[in-house]
């Protein structure tokens, strides 16, 4: 399954894109998406491996399974301010 993981803020500026495509097996979990992001951006592998993902607008555990059409967003906030 191919997902377009939405990205925002300074990460989006840094990578000059608004989403990252990842290809994961059917019955992939949230963790598999983190790993696929890490593999596609080796210089930021640690960040992507630990980043929080929202699926259909809710945080999910790493073990949660994905279905085709799910909307995935990388919600990693810097806080501050």
């Amino acid at each position: 399954m191919v997902f377009r993981v939405l990205i925002f803020g300074s990460l989006a500026h840094e990578l000059s894109c608004a989403s990252i495509a990842v290809d994961v097996p059917d019955n992939a979990s949230v963790r598999d998406v983190n790993e696929a992001l890490a593999a596609s951006h080796p210089h930021k592998a640690t960040f992507f491996r630990g980043a929080r993902l929202a699926v259909n607008h809710s945080f999910r555990s790493a073990d949660a399974l994905l279905r085709a059409g799910d909307e995935i967003a990388l919600v990693e906030l810097v806080g501050g301010g």
């Binding site: 925002f8 803020g9 929202a54 607008h57 906030l77 501050g80």
Partner: protein, 133 residues
């Protein structure tokens, strides 16, 4: 008890001119977040806020309801800007009504900490236009 959330394009306007007279609360706090000229050591002209909807509004509402229950508030209202907000203008406002000041203050602090950590809103600094020299 009510939790209200509004996402507003651009800077927030003035606070509601008056709280309605309300015999059931003893403390009202209005917290305004204002865009500062100094962002991490550099001078900026504005911040731009990206808001991932509907997740952001959902989470703000959920967080508001959690604060209502945990701190026994009478009401909580949240306003947050989306898009560009110039320096000196307000981008966030939290209004809390409670019986006593202690729970009102605790709720304001906890709400903002949790919002910064969990609610999908990102800010980017927009630099000062280069001077024509």
């Amino acid at each position: 008890m009510s939790a209200t959330v509004r996402i507003i394009d651009g800077a927030l306007g003035n606070p509601a001119p008056a709280l309605p007279p309300a015999a059931q609360f003893g403390a009202a706090i209005v917290f305004d977040g204002v865009v500062r000229a100094d962002e991490g050591g550099r001078t900026i002209r504005a911040l731009a806020y990206e808001v991932y909807e509907p997740m952001a509004s959902n989470m703000l509402t959920e967080l508001g309801r959690e604060m209502l229950a945990k701190h026994g508030l009478v009401a909580i209202m949240v306003e947050h800007s989306r898009g560009e907000v110039p320096v000196g203008q307000r981008s966030f406002r939290l209004t809390v009504h409670a019986l006593h000041r202690a729970e009102a203050l605790a709720a304001v602090g906890e709400f903002i900490d949790r919002m910064k950590r969990d609610v999908p809103i990102w800010k980017s600094a927009l630099d000062e236009a280069p001077t024509a020299s």
